[in-house]
């Protein structure tokens, strides 16, 4: 713990994205009465502006990399990667929300303010190098998300989602905090670098102590990334939350939680890697199997995508189980691709659900290919990417993850993982089947034409997904360069 809390200008620059997001979020709430009378779309414009500014802030911060606030934050390539990722997810969410909120008559400043707060928490998670900072980031991100999940307060499903998310989320945070407390007790520090030194050092604390702490933190984080066996909340929450928020929840908080996961386990806890590897291995396998097989049985499209996101968490855990820099880079790449395709897929769903989110069954998408060719085409790109068909980001990410796993001799995990992904093809294909091979349903016949914002929210991630698949070199290089975490 640093002796004094100085606040230098360097610290401010390195902390810029969070500052921008918090200030703009607060501003939104303050300006609410002024703006609301004129145009409710202005909230969206302001939050887009805020996110763009935060993006600029993240780039600026990366120009001055290094620790901030006495080592509590670490602004490096890794942090920047995830900051940019969660901000981009936020932008896509805002774009997808314009029309959605208008349709539900639910445009308020809180929605956007909460979104900005949540993203600021995720940015903080991405660059914290201190367990307390991780905890604070996690709480900022989660509490805002709990409220967002229940944002449509007249909808019973949203209420259930919010409550479930809140209760189980609090439990998970408690687990995590308990782990942090044990670490502090054992090593007299919460700074990841110091913890690592203490664990690897001469008079290391009892391995049982550290092991239990690691397991508790693992449980907390596994909950946040919705990895099996801590996934039970995810389907209900993603199904009940407003669809753009499901998109957001399945990408932003998850990516940030994985950033934390990697930062903690690959730096502080790396010395006891042999101990935690089986945990990650098991959770990865279980997530892939549970996610993919449960998704086969779903009839609700949001629920199906929720189970699919559990399976995808499993793939990322495979990369973690590899315990190598390549593994970290693979996880980074995969999360980028995953965020784009999953946000895109949920956005495509949101174009059709209608007022009160009536149409969420898979069969409601019948004939979308004829009625809304653009939406259907973009949705197909996301689905093919989720399947892992080459020339999409999803394929290359998967390829890279399993390459990392094979390098670390996890051959059986690779074989089982890839086979489960072949099973997964079945339920993604089901959506393609109804979209293109069935006659139009009530929902697709009555679907509204795309608004400019929504088209952008579909086309941008689709272009990104293809770009990651066809020219992955650029992102790959950045991920490879940033995967060597400061230890």
């Amino acid at each position: 713990m640093p002796a004094s809390f100085g606040f230098s200008s360097t610290d401010a620059i390195r902390f810029l994205p969070e500052i921008v997001l918090i200030v703009m979020g607060t501003l939104l709430m303050v300006l609410d009465p002024v703006i609301h009378k004129r145009s409710s779309e202005a909230f969206g414009h302001i939050s887009l502006l805020a996110l763009a500014a935060a993006l600029g802030g993240a780039v600026l911060a990366y120009q001055n990399p290094g620790p901030a606030f006495g080592g509590m934050l670490m602004v490096d390539g890794f942090a920047t990667f995830f900051r940019v990722l969660v901000i981009a997810v936020g932008m896509l969410t805002v774009l997808a929300s314009y029309r959605f909120l208008a349709r539900q008559d639910a445009e308020t400043s809180e929605y956007h303010a909460l979104l900005l707060f949540s993203i600021s928490g995720q940015c903080l998670m991405a660059d914290s190098n201190d367990l307390i900072m991780v905890f604070i980031g996690l709480e900022i991100s989660s509490i805002a998300s709990y409220i967002l999940a229940g944002y449509l307060r007249d909808d019973k499903r949203a209420n259930e989602a919010s409550l479930k998310y809140f209760l189980l989320g609090s439990f998970a945070t408690a687990f995590f905090l308990y782990g942090v407390a044990l670490i502090y007790g054992a090593t007299k520090s919460v700074n990841l670098t110091l913890v690592r030194q203490a664990i690897a050092g001469q008079d290391a604390p009892s391995p049982v102590f550290i092991g239990v702490a690691a397991a508790l933190m693992f449980v907390g984080l596994a909950f946040k990334v919705s990895a099996a066996p801590f996934q039970i909340w995810a389907p209900d929450v993603y199904q009940g939350a407003p669809t753009p928020i499901s998109a957001f929840l399945s990408a932003g908080p998850k990516a940030a939680a994985f950033a934390v996961f990697q930062r903690i386990f690959m730096t502080a806890l790396e010395p006891i890697g042999n101990g935690w590897e089986p945990l990650v291995w098991g959770a990865a396998l279980l997530s892939m199997i549970v996610g993919n097989f449960a998704a086969l049985l779903q009839t609700d499209i949001k629920r199906m995508l929720a189970y699919s996101s559990i399976a995808h968490a499993g793939y990322v855990l495979v990369a973690l189980a590899a315990r190598s820099d390549v593994g970290v880079a693979a996880a980074m790449f995969y999360l980028a691709g995953y965020a784009l395709m999953n946000v895109g897929a949920f956005t495509a769903v949101s174009t059709l659900t209608g007022k009160g989110e009536r149409y969420t069954s898979i069969d409601d998408f019948a004939g979308l290919g004829q009625k809304q060719p653009l939406t259907a085409a973009m949705f197909s790109i996301f689905l093919l990417s989720l399947i892992g068909v080459p020339l999409t980001g999803g394929f290359f990410g998967k390829f890279y993850i399993f390459k990392a796993a094979m390098e670390s001799h996890l051959v059986w995990l690779t074989v089982l993982g890839l086979l489960s992904s072949a099973v997964a093809a079945y339920y993604y294909l089901r959506i393609l089947v109804v979209m293109y091979m069935k006659e139009p349903s009530e929902a697709t016949v009555n679907a509204e034409p795309l608004s400019p914002g929504l088209s952008l929210a579909l086309i941008l991630p689709a272009v990104g997904t293809l770009a990651l698949g066809i020219f992955p070199g650029w992102v790959l290089e950045f991920a490879g360069k940033s995967s060597n975490l400061v230890k």
């Binding site: 004829q370 394929f395 294909l429 293109y436 091979m437 070199g473 290089e477």
Partner: protein
């Protein structure tokens, strides 16, 4: 040969369909005619470009020609590397040759969502050409999977009644196999740090890369299962009848004529040279499966009431010959295998096209709904007869040369195999001629009289090239066999690497001379 135009011609052949696909998406939905014309134009242009490759191809060289090598994904050293050799050249031309024919035979039968249909057909061509010319394992896998997507849509959207079931089954079968292959590809990459196929072979032959026996066997099986599903080798064939029967005619043609060859080509190009000992160790088992496939496919074809299903099962039988020829590990057998690949592509492609023309007229695929077609459509019947005779291996037509060579090569390796396999030839005459007789001769069904006109000029344009190639392949096989032989000889040579025992290759020259 070293002119910049010829050097990049292969890239042109590959990228023209991709360009055609993207442009086809921009064609307005309201004018299906524009989509058709565009698809025909782009596929003809691709075909002409591929003929250019044939013209400048050095027939005497066994190696890869028209190499284009561009770094693609730098951090992993993945290259966009394409080239052709004496086998892939023909398979590539088979794809570019059949695509315009598929456009022609779909002209009238595809009216619903024509724009997407032709776009997918052109995209399929891109994938297929890519599979045959990729020189980088990663790139190969990319094309392997990419070709799956348009075919899935072709079957699923424009197919018959049970199209969705067939499309999903087709996709999942192939996907399951190919993820195993992906595992093996990654494994090889982690061992060698390269995807460059030529470099990997070089490491193998120089002894820098040695797979332990168990390792080699697992890798071989990972590749082989992926390919065997595609071929399809008995008992992995169950997706095939569904996919063929439910697909639209153009889909059936591309599926049977080209896509199945992706599997056999993969075996010849990747399985044998990479894992020679494992391939030889498994040869006996595989040959037995191939023979079961030959006989089983023929017997099941015999009892089919549905023309498409009959032709589909005949493919299982014919492709058994290809596998048998490859795993005979003889020059004649391998030459024959490649020859059957091409000949089957032409003759079965023609059969599916004709069945498509018939069902376009009569709206039925059931043999029982036909009869007496010869009286109302004599030319159609003649074309059908030639394709039928080619398919059953009549001398002077395409399949005969290939099947003869396969049997000869097999007889050198194991005489009993050849005896059992030749049963397939006899049976093929039974089921094909019996079908021909029931459809073409006999009482003229009144429905037939009113609904079955003879070939239109457009249909003539589609069928004449097929007939011409069948005759050419039957009469002057040297055109095809010379470049093929160079490649198969090299594959045979590569399979000697790391093999503790040398297979009897008594007077390799003499066998070939006899065969020709």
């Amino acid at each position: 040969m070293n002119h910049p135009f010829t050097m990049n011609l292969l890239a042109v052949v590959l990228l023209l369909p991709l360009f055609g696909f993207l442009a086809a998406l921009a064609v307005p939905r309201s004018s299906p005619q524009a989509s058709r014309v565009w698809a025909l134009a782009i596929s003809l242009a691709t075909f002409v470009a591929s003929l250019g490759l044939l013209f400048w191809f050095d027939r005497g060289a066994p190696g890869d020609q028209f190499m284009v090598d561009v770094p693609w994904i730098a951090p992993l050293d993945i290259h966009f590397a394409i080239a052709v050799n004496g086998v892939s050249l023909w398979l590539m031309i088979l794809s570019t040759f059949l695509t315009p024919i598929c456009v022609l035979i779909s002209w009238r039968s595809i009216t619903r969502r024509a724009k997407e249909f032709y776009a997918f057909l052109i995209l399929l061509e891109f994938g297929l050409v890519g599979v045959f010319i990729a020189q980088d394992l990663f790139l190969f896998y990319v094309f392997w999977e990419v070709s799956l997507v348009p075919m899935y849509f072709l079957i699923g959207i424009w197919g018959h009644d049970r199209r969705i079931y067939a499309a999903v089954k087709f996709f999942l079968y192939t996907m399951a196999g190919s993820v195993l292959m992906l595992t093996a590809i990654i494994y090889i990459y982690n061992r060698t740090q390269t995807f460059n196929y030529a470099a990997i072979l070089e490491m193998l032959s120089s002894g820098k890369l040695v797979f332990a026996p168990g390792e080699q066997m697992l890798l071989f099986l990972a590749f082989f299962v992926a390919f065997a599903i595609k071929v399809p080798l008995f008992p992995l064939h169950t997706w095939l009848p569904d996919a063929h029967v439910e697909a639209p005619s153009a889909g059936s043609v591309m599926l049977a004529s080209v896509m199945l060859k992706m599997g056999t080509y993969g075996i010849l190009r990747y399985c044998l040279p990479l894992f020679p000992s494992a391939a030889r160790a498994c040869a006996g088992w595989i040959a037995v499966l191939a023979i079961i496939g030959i006989v089983y496919g023929a017997l099941v074809a015999m009892v089919q009431p549905n023309m498409k299903k009959l032709v589909a099962y005949s493919s299982v039988s014919h492709l058994g010959f290809v596998i048998l020829g490859i795993f005979s590990f003889t020059q004649a057998g391998m030459d024959g295998a490649v020859y059957v690949m091409l000949a089957h592509g032409i003759s079965t492609g023609a059969l599916f096209a004709i069945v498509g023309l018939l069902s376009e007229r009569r709206h039925s695929l059931e043999i029982a709904d036909y009869g007496g077609v010869a009286t109302v459509a004599p030319w159609l019947s003649t074309v059908f007869l030639i394709a039928t005779l080619a398919s059953i291996g009549l001398p002077l037509l395409s399949n005969f040369v290939g099947e003869f060579l396969v049997l000869q090569g097999t007889a050198i390796a194991n005489y009993q195999w050849a005896i059992y396999a030749s049963l397939g030839l006899v049976l093929s005459a039974c089921y094909m001629l019996w079908m021909y007789q029931r459809v073409i001769y006999g009482e003229v069904n009144p429905e037939i009289r009113s609904h079955v006109p003879d070939l239109s000029p457009r249909e003539w344009a589609a069928m004449v090239p097929l007939i011409a190639v069948m005759v050419w392949m039957g009469v002057y096989s040297q055109t095809f066999l010379q470049p093929i032989g160079k490649v198969t000889a090299r594959v045979l040579d590569q399979t000697q690497v790391n093999v503790p025992y040398r297979v009897n290759r008594a007077q390799p020259g003499a066998e070939v001379a006899n065969a020709r």
